[in-house]
Structures are given as structure tokens and as C-alpha cells.
């Protein structure tokens, strides 16, 4: 049972890109709690959602349509991640859901279906956490524009926590400042440090990581389900939800799992890549839609990778490659702002998928982490400022030679490969010797 949904929430990128509904249905056949919904088949209910989403089984499509009108951009709560953990001999199932903000407005509008939907994910007597990625202040201000947040009175089983992840032009400003600081080699030490500080980049990294850790903590430590949203639910929401999965789910730390995560939690989830990744650092921060949201996510992954260098199947180059392709690519994968646009552009027919190229063995070998040792652990990163670092592979890449560091990396790979060779050789020789000795024994016995 759990396996079905568990595997659903970490489906292979290929299946998700070309979903065959029968396959899904057989998977879900025996699952009690969740179902696939085709309510968005024509992208009519939510233009930024994919045609197929996973929702609580007890909520029908009609209710979903109603909930969609109550959530920003029609982004009704959907399943993002399904987690199970054994505690004192019992299995606990918890989920991460994500959505847009509720449109409560100033007069405290409510929506019974919405309340029913998210309560349907809780087990009897259990509480859940709503992580709002905006500060309480910002969330309150949103009410004036028709947005808002869940009122305790209407969601008594849920506890709301506000974290503050910055968005849009603030992030864009931050990137511009950081890149400017990194590109000027004449800065003296004080100026460099003050510019690095003023860019606030690592502050954003810390905020995002902290929020993701919090969501993961609710799931793994509290055994509570989580609903994450900010305003639109297309930026900070996705950062927090996907990073929480990196922390919790070993599969998302493999190449295929990470590709699936990006496919599911960024592309299908409707992160507007075309708007966010148009010009990178070299444009005015007044560009309304430009923001390095995805780059910040990759940076956070890199920070975790640095702290757990053996827990990821891929290396830093894989992340850098994704960064590059998100901004400019010969593949169709990152084009458009959501599935609906990609469908209209007929990208599946007209362009190649990045994954089909990356997953070729010759390419994959470049991105393999030689230190990878699969583990099933939840990995808690340190978010202390002393533990976070500037991502040199991205920001200092063209500003200095990395020759010696690259050579050292090669040497490390050599040592690891040599080790494997030697081990294989020892095993062969041992078998050979054992065979010789049994032959010996056989000959002697008569």
C-alpha cells in the first residue's frame, strides 16, 4: 500500500513526462487515501498545474474546482511528497502538500471544501503544520490584495508557522550584487566581505534551508503532515518542498531521483522558468519577473552536498549543468512557464528532452560522484553561517583558475578507481587460489 504512493511521489521522470494513465490507476488501485485527478486535463482549473495531480481520495473533482477558486492561481493543495517512517514498531505516513495562498481577503472568506481537503490528509487526532513562506506581516498585508492565510479558527487541526523567504526583485538584487562583488578582483578584503554581506545571498540560502529543515523536521520528528505555501506557490514553496525531500528522501539524492524531483517539483509544479531565468544577473532588478529562485535552490542543494559529500549520486557539475540549462539550452525541458505552455508549444514533438541527453552513460559519467555510498538516512544539514559557503563553482568559476583544485579532484577519482580495481583483482586471485587448492585436494584424496 505504502509502496504504491511512495513510488508515485517519486516517480521516474520518464513516466511523469509521458504518463500512461492505466499505469497510474493500477498503482493506485489499492490505495485508500490518495487518487489521481484529471480535473485539470484541459488546464482549465489551474493553468500552472499539470493535467494530472494527486489529491486525497475522499475529495471529488467538483470539490477541487471549488477549492481552486479559493487558492491563488487556482493552485489547490496537491501531494508533493509521501513519507513513511517506522516508529516504535508502527508505520507512520505523513505528507508534504503544496498550494497557493488561500484567497481569504480582508473579510476572512472561507471555503469548506478547502478545509475538508486538507483535513482529509490528517489521521484522526493528528495535527498538521502549515508552513507559510512569508512573514506574518507580509501574509497579513496580502489580505488587502485578496490573498491571505489560513485562520486558526477554521483550521483547528493545523498549526501555522511563518518563515520568511524573500522573493522576486529582492533575490534578483541579491544576485546582481553578489555577481558584481565576485567579478571585481580589485576589492580589498574589507570591501569584499562587506559586499558579500550586503548581497545577502547567503542569508537567503540560510533562510531557504532553514525552512526546508523545518518542514522535514515536522515530517520526520513530529510525525506531522505539512502544507507549504507562500503567495503564488510557484517559488519559495517549491524551494522548501523540494529541499525537504532532499533531506528526507534518499532517492531524491540519486541522479534519477533528482531529475524526477526537478521534473515533478519544478517543471510540472509550474515554476515559471521562462520568466525567472531570462537574463540572470545582467539585467536591472526592475525586471519584474526575473529572479534566481531555481539557482538558490541549486545552491542549497550544493550546500547539503558539501556537508554530505558521500550521500549524493551526482556531483557539483551536475548542479552547474542544470543551472546552465535553466537559463539557456538546446533542449526543450526548461522552456515555457508551465505544462500548459509547453503543451501549446508542442515541445515534446519539436524539441529534445534534456534528460534524454543527460542520462546517456557517456554524459552521466561526468556527473557521477565517485564517493557516493547509498544510505537511507535523513540528512540534517548545518545552517550556521560558519557552515555555509559561497558556491565557488558558480560564482568564481570564470574569475580564477581552478586548475590545481581540478587536478586534485582527478587524483581523488584515481585513488577511488584504483581501489576498485585492486579489490576486484584480489577477489579474482582469491577465487583462483581457492580453485587451485580444491583441485589439489581432489587430486590428493584418492
Amino acid at each position: 500500500l505504502e509502496n504504491c504512493i511512495g513510488s508515485l511521489s517519486t516517480l521516474d521522470s520518464v513516466t511523469l513526462m509521458y504518463p500512461s494513465s492505466t499505469e497510474f490507476e493500477t498503482l493506485l488501485f489499492s490505495c485508500n487515501d490518495w487518487r489521481l485527478s484529471y480535473v485539470n486535463k484541459e488546464f482549465a482549473v489551474c493553468p500552472s498545474y499539470p493535467p494530472i495531480v494527486i489529491v486525497p481520495k475522499s475529495i471529488d473533482d467538483e470539490a477541487l474546482r471549488k477549492v481552486a477558486t479559493f487558492r491563488h492561481g487556482g493552485r489547490f493543495p496537491v501531494l508533493s511528497y509521501y513519507h513513511k517512517k517506522k516508529w516504535n514498531g508502527k508505520w507512520y505516513r505523513t505528507v508534504i502538500m503544496r498550494s497557493g495562498q488561500p484567497l481569504t481577503g480582508t473579510n476572512g472568506r472561507r471555503c469548506k471544501e478547502d478545509e475538508k481537503l486538507i483535513n482529509a490528509t490528517l489521521r484522526a487526532g493528528k495535527r498538521g503544520y502549515i508552513i507559510d513562506t512569508r512573514s506574518l506581516n507580509v501574509a497579513q498585508q496580502a489580505r488587502a490584495k485578496g490573498g491571505g492565510f489560513e485562520q486558526e479558527a477554521h483550521y483547528p487541526q493545523w498549526r501555522r508557522i511563518h518563515k520568511s523567504i524573500e522573493r522576486y526583485h529582492i533575490l534578483q538584487d541579491s544576485l546582481i550584487k553578489l555577481v558584481e562583488a565576485c567579478n571585481d578582483q580589485t576589492h580589498n578584503m574589507d570591501r569584499w566581505l562587506s559586499k558579500l554581506e550586503a548581497s545577502n545571498w547567503l542569508t537567503h540560502v540560510k533562510e531557504i534551508l532553514t525552512t526546508a529543515c523545518l518542514a522535514a523536521q515536522c515530517i520526520d520528528r513530529e510525525g506531522a503532515s505539512v502544507l507549504i505555501h507562500g503567495a503564488e506557490g510557484t517559488d519559495s514553496t517549491l524551494q522548501a518542498a523540494s529541499l525537504a525531500q532532499i533531506i528526507l528522501e534518499p532517492r531524491s539524492r540519486t541522479v534519477r531521483g533528482f531529475e524526477a524531483l526537478i521534473e515533478r517539483e519544478w517543471l510540472q509544479a509550474g515554476h515559471p522558468f521562462q520568466q525567472r531565468c531570462a537574463q540572470s544577473a545582467y539585467c536591472s532588478s526592475k525586471q519584474k519577473w526575473e529572479a534566481p529562485v531555481f539557482l538558490l535552490f541549486l545552491d542549497c542543494v550544493w550546500q547539503i552536498l558539501r556537508q554530505f559529500p558521500c550521500s549524493f549520486e551526482f556531483n557539483e557539475h551536475f548542479l552547474i549543468m542544470l543551472f546552465e540549462h535553466a537559463y539557456a539550452s538546446q533542449f526543450g525541458t526548461f522552456l515555457g512557464n508551465n505544462e500548459s505552455e509547453r503543451c501549446k508549444l508542442k515541445l515534446q514533438q519539436k524539441t529534445m528532452s534534456l534528460w534524454s541527453w543527460v542520462n546517456r552513460p557517456s554524459e552521466l559519467s561526468k556527473f557521477a560522484n565517485p564517493l557516493f555510498e547509498a544510505n537511507n538516512l535523513v540528512i540534517w544539514p548545518s545552517v550556521a553561517p560558519q557552515s555555509l559557503q559561497l558556491w565557488e563553482g558558480i560564482f568564481l568559476r570564470w574569475n580564477r583558475s581552478s586548475k590545481y583544485v581540478d587536478e586534485a579532484y582527478e587524483e581523488m577519482v584515481n585513488i577511488i578507481e584504483y581501489n576498485r580495481e585492486l579489490q576486484a583483482k584480489v577477489n579474482i586471485l582469491r577465487r583462483q587460489l581457492a580453485e587451485l587448492e580444491t583441485e589439489d585436494g581432489l587430486r590428493e584424496s584418492p
Binding site: I161, L214, P309, A408, M412, I415, L429, L433, D440
Partner: protein
């Protein structure tokens, strides 16, 4: 021990330094003659050497007991809560006494006994031979000779007995020059670059005041420049900021006037003095000790401390030296005020850039012995070994180690040793466990009879060298002969593993370095195993071909083959754990307690109770 009143206190709490919710471990605190020991309920031991204690502070009584905060010179900070105030007071008073000794003879080195006999101890002291080192550099030679002027410490008390000077500099010139230099520290050879025939020399500031000159000193400098057959002009590098050097003139000291010396090019490089460095480190540590530190506070604290600026200044000065020699083929004379702090930093780091020998384990020991110990860096005063003037304490040597660490980061294959080696040396400049760093100059060390009464650190480090080897070191790469580090500001990072070496929650949870180190070790073992197996297979095959011919022979061989079998089984058994060790996630060396086991680390990283109060989850990590 007369200072110890209470030797054991139970139910003491050790607080987590960075936990905002006062997470703690409960255990028993023991006070021994040399260490403070805390054993928690998981039997994990925390040893603190009395000499490592920089300060002890008793805070105001709380409901749970009396807080005792101990700051160590190796950047460990522990925060105990002792249930009864009287116990706390006793421990506090004892530690105050024990951590600040009045006499050298009371230091740990004089009682430390690693169970070696006299000849072993003497051999240990002879491990590093500076006369050998000068020979390795290529002196004496036609231009440079050993001077006996200071044989009895008559000219300069803080210099070693054996000094190398230009052959054409006569004794009267040396004596004359020494009278014109602060503390008599006249210009002598620090490093000789054989290929370029250029030298790094060192001295203290001249007593020039506003206009004084000294012909002998001018002659000596000329002799140094003449000792370089390729380039006749030399650089005189004053490592102080110009303003400081000028201020010194009012006190009858100062710097060289270019007009009075022929063929010199004078240069300031602007490294700050010991007091600035001391307060800089203090500021850095204050910022880092803050609970719940924000990224911005961290970086503005880092900037305000000026620490990385100072590190960069030292590095830039060393690069200046290396360039003068490599590019211009010019000799360099380095001084600061007394020529034992900044001068030691710059000369040793310059030599390290130029000569790959100093980047080996043994070579690095030689470098420290030469430019720091023998030339009179005042280790005892700078490290506060005795209860002395706190204004003399300064992290000058720590800065040198940090510069070396920055180089290892930029050139990961150029050094035979690893970070643990640097940390270990740092540990021992303060530990007073070995004699090497006691005292302030060679004369003082001889008077203390350190070679008879204490042990040398180096042989112990060398015995343990497996722990300190850099698995990526490539000795063959001649391209690393001269290091040319990049000193653009963004290359300088905060050295977390030094300043937070005991705060493991801040460290990466898996160490690439340890894994590679273990793998390297394992590879050596595997190579041996392959040889063994191959020879056994050969034997077996030979035996079989022989066996076909003579059955009797085979029977006589039979016992041996069973012995062979058992030895093979043994081999398999010994090999297995190595494989297993590799499979665990943190492939750390269990003996190296600095990097503790991954799983243990893991359980520590997990919060006991999760509270989500105030809407902010406590991150345990």
C-alpha cells in the same frame, strides 16, 4: 597537588555551546594534576589540558547551579554547570592556579614521561638538525659562511649560536651593525636559494632615529647584495605599516634611508603589530561564539575583526619575497621592529613558497625550527605559557599556520601534510607538553636544559605521520616548485576547522578527506595482498605440475598447503574489517578523535525534543 581541593564533582552539566535551548549532557567532572576531565553519561570523555586554558569565568548562580565557562587556547569553549557553588568555587580557584604557572619548571613538559630512555630522548632532539638544513640549502659556499660571532650569545642573546653571513662581512662589521640594530639582531641569512644564488635575510629595525647612520650596517647590507652574483640590488622589506615605522623614529629607531645604502630598494608591506592581531582574533572569536548568529552578523563580524585582511597582508608580503627572488633574482632583507614576529611569518612563508622541501612533513618541522624557534620567536610570551604580561600574547604563529592552510586549499596536491598536522602543531604550541616551544629564545632554552628535562614534539608527530599525510600529495610534480598563490580577497575563507575545531555540529558530516586517506591506506594493503596471492598461486601451480610427476613429493608438500590455506583464511579475516570500515559512511580513523564517527555524529545532530515554539523550529544543526 596543593592547588587541587576537589578532585571529583558529580552531576555536572556540559552545555551545548550553540544550542539556543540549553541542551546539555550530564556527567562527572574530574580534576587531575594536568587535565580537567569530563565524562558524560555515554562515557564520552572530554579532556582539557590545564595549559590550554586561556580563561576561566564563574558566572552568576542560577537555579540549576553555578555556571563555569572555560575558554581554551585551542578555541575549545566549554560551559559547565556545577550543582553546588562551593564545588564550582574550588574548581574555579584550582584552574586559575593550574592554568597560570609562574615557573617554567612547573609546566607539563617537565613532568611528562612518554616512557623513553635518555638516548631515545636525545635522538628525538637530534631529529631536526639545522646545520644539515643550511647544508641542504647550499651554505656555506663561496659567498656565505658560518659566523662564530654569536657563539657565546655575546652579540645577540635572542639569536641562535650559529649564524650565516656574507663571507666578505668581517667580524667588526657584524659587531658594528648589531649595535645599530634593535636588540642586536643584525642582518643574517634565513634562506638561500641555490639556483638563483639569492638570499632571504632577516634582522630587526635600525636605530636610525631621524638621521643616524652606521657605516658597518651599510657595509653589511652591501655585503649581502654583493653575495648575490646575479643581481646587485637588494630589497629591504619593512613589514610594518609606514606610519608605525615612522613613529618609531622618534624613539631612536626607524627604517633604512635609501640614500645611505647603496643598491637597496626599500619597501613597506604593512602588516599590523601584535596588539592589533591579538584584538583582531578576540573580535573574531566573540562573533563566532554568538548563539543563533545570522549570516550578516557573521560576515560583518569577520570584516570588522580584520582577521582575513591581516592574513592576506602576511601572504602578500611572502609573495613579494618569492617574486623578488624568482623574477628579479634579487636578495631580500626582511625586518619589522624586533624581527621576531612579522619577520618570522614573512621569511618562513616566503621560503615555503619557494622551496617544496618545506611542504613536506619533515621540511615543515625544519622550517618552524629555523625561522621560528631558533631565531627567537617568543613562543612562551606569545602563547602565554607562564603567568605573564597579557599584552605580550599574540596569535602570530597561528596566523602563519592559517596562511599555510590557505595555501593547502589553493594547492591541494603541493603539501605532504594535511590539515590535522597544522591543527596538531597548533595544539602543541600551547600544550607545554613538549620542550620545543618553551622559552623565548635558544639561550633561554639552553638555560632551562630542555633537551635533558623534556621531550621533543617532532619524533612523536613523525611516528604518527600516517594521520598527517595528505593522500593527494604529489611529490613528483615539479611544477609546484614555486607556489604562486592567488590573493584576490575572495580566495580567503574563514578557517572553520581551526576556530571551530571542537564544534562538530558545524562541520560537514562526512569527510571526503578521511575517506580518501583510508582508501589510500587500504590500497597499499591490497597491493600487498595481490603480491601474496600471486606468489601463492604460482606455488600452487608449480606444485601441481610437479605433483603430476612425483606423487610422493606431493604428499610431503601437503602439510604446507594446509598451512597455506589457514593463512589465507586469516588474510580474509583481516581484510574484511578494512572493507567494512570503508563502507561506513564517515570513513574516519577511529583513533583520530577529531573526526568522530558518522553515526554518532548523526544521533547528536538529532534533537531530543522538537519544540516549535514561537513558530521557529530549533535547528539542532
Amino acid at each position: 597537588m596543593e592547588h587541587i581541593r576537589t578532585t571529583k564533582v558529580e552531576q555536572v552539566k556540559l552545555l551545548d555551546r550553540f544550542s539556543t535551548s540549553n541542551k546539555s549532557l550530564t556527567g562527572t567532572l574530574y580534576l587531575t594534576a594536568t587535565h580537567l576531565l569530563f565524562i558524560d553519561s555515554h562515557q564520552k570523555e572530554t579532556w582539557i589540558l590545564h595549559h590550554h586554558i586561556a580563561s576561566v569565568e564563574k558566572l552568576a548562580l542560577t537555579t540549576s547551579g553555578c555556571p563555569l565557562v572555560i575558554q581554551c587556547k585551542n578555541f575549545r569553549i566549554v560551559h559547565f554547570i556545577v550543582p553546588r557553588e562551593r564545588d564550582c568555587h574550588d574548581i574555579y580557584n584550582s584552574l586559575l592556579q593550574l592554568s597560570k604557572q609562574a615557573k617554567y619548571e612547573d609546566l607539563y613538559a617537565f613532568s611528562y614521561n612518554p616512557k623513553q630512555n635518555d638516548s631515545e630522548r636525545l635522538q628525538g632532539w637530534q631529529l631536526i638538525d639545522l646545520a644539515e638544513e643550511y647544508k641542504r640549502m647550499g651554505v656555506p659556499n663561496p659567498h656565505w659562511q658560518l659566523s662564530d660571532a654569536n657563539r657565546e650569545y655575546k652579540i645577540c642573546e635572542t639569536y641562535p649560536r650559529e649564524l650565516y653571513v656574507p663571507r666578505i662581512a668581517s667580524k667588526p662589521i657584524i659587531v658594528g651593525s648589531s649595535k645599530f640594530r634593535s636588540k642586536g639582531r643584525f642582518p643574517v641569512l634565513s634562506y638561500y636559494h641555490q639556483e638563483k644564488e639569492a638570499a632571504i635575510c632577516r634582522c630587526s629595525q635600525p636605530l636610525s632615529g631621524f638621521s643616524a647612520r652606521c657605516l658597518e650596517d651599510e657595509h653589511l647590507l652591501q655585503a649581502i647584495s654583493k653575495a648575490n652574483p646575479v643581481n646587485r640590488y637588494m630589497y629591504v622589506v619593512d613589514t610594518r605599516p609606514k606610519l608605525n615605522a615612522m613613529a618609531n623614529r622618534a624613539a631612536g629607531k626607524g627604517y633604512e634611508n635609501e640614500d645611505n645604502y647603496s643598491n637597496i630598494r626599500f619597501q613597506f608591506v604593512g602588516i599590523e603589530n601584535i596588539h592589533v592581531m591579538r584584538s583582531s582574533l578576540q573580535k573574531l572569536l566573540e562573533v563566532n561564539g554568538t548563539k543563533g548568529l545570522s549570516v550578516n552578523d557573521f560576515y560583518s563580524g569577520l570584516e570588522n575583526s580584520g582577521w582575513l585582511r591581516h592574513i592576506k597582508a602576511v601572504m602578500d608580503a611572502a609573495i613579494f619575497l618569492a617574486k623578488a627572488i624568482m623574477i628579479e633574482n634579487a636578495s631580500v632583507l626582511v625586518h619589522c621592529s624586533d624581527g621576531w614576529d612579522r619577520t618570522s611569518q614573512v621569511c618562513s612563508l616566503g621560503s615555503l613558497l619557494l622551496d617544496s622541501y618545506y611542504r613536506t612533513i619533515k621540511g615543515f618541522m625544519v622550517l618552524i625550527e629555523k625561522d621560528w624557534i631558533s631565531f627567537g620567536h617568543k613562543f612562551s610570551e606569545r602563547c602565554g605559557h607562564l603567568d605573564g604580561d597579557p599584552k605580550e600574547v599574540s596569535p602570530v604563529f597561528t596566523q602563519f599556520l592559517e596562511c599555510v592552510w590557505h595555501l593547502t586549499e589553493q594547492f591541494p596536491q603541493a603539501f605532504e601534510f594535511n590539515e590535522a598536522f597544522l591543527l596538531q602543531i597548533h595544539e602543541h604550541i600551547h600544550s607545554c607538553q613538549f620542550g620545543n616551544f618553551l622559552g623565548n629564545c635558544q639561550k633561554e632554552r639552553e638555560e632551562l636544559k630542555l633537551k635533558e628535562k623534556t621531550y621533543s614534539l617532532w619524533p612523536f608527530l613523525l611516528d604518527d605521520q600516517k594521520k598527517y599525510l595528505n593522500p593527494l600529495y604529489s611529490s613528483k610534480s615539479q611544477r609546484f616548485t614555486v607556489l604562486e598563490p592567488n590573493t584576490v580577497s575572495f580566495n580567503f575563507k574563514f578557517w572553520r576547522n581551526m576556530y571551530h575545531q571542537f564544534d562538530r555540529t558545524l562541520h560537514p558530516r562526512q569527510s571526503v578527506f578521511n575517506i580518501i586517506m583510508n582508501m589510500n591506506e587500504q590500497n597499499k594493503q591490497l597491493e600487498k595482498d595481490i603480491q601474496d596471492l600471486e606468489s601463492k598461486i604460482k606455488q600452487c601451480k608449480n606444485k601441481q605440475s610437479d605433483g603430476v610427476l612425483t606423487k610422493e613429493l606431493l604428499h610431503s608438500v601437503h602439510p604446507e598447503s594446509s598451512a597455506l590455506k589457514t593463512s589465507l583464511c586469516l588474510k580474509e579475516q583481516t581484510l574484511l574489517p578494512v572493507n567494512d570500515a570503508l563502507r561506513t559512511i564517515e570513513g574516519s580513523n577511529p583513533a583520530d578523535n577529531r573526526y568522530c564517527d558518522y553515526t554518532e555524529e548523526f544521533s547528536k545532530a538529532e534533537p531530543g525534543v522538537v519544540s516549535l515554539e514561537y513558530g521557529v523550529a530549533r535547528m539542532t544543526c
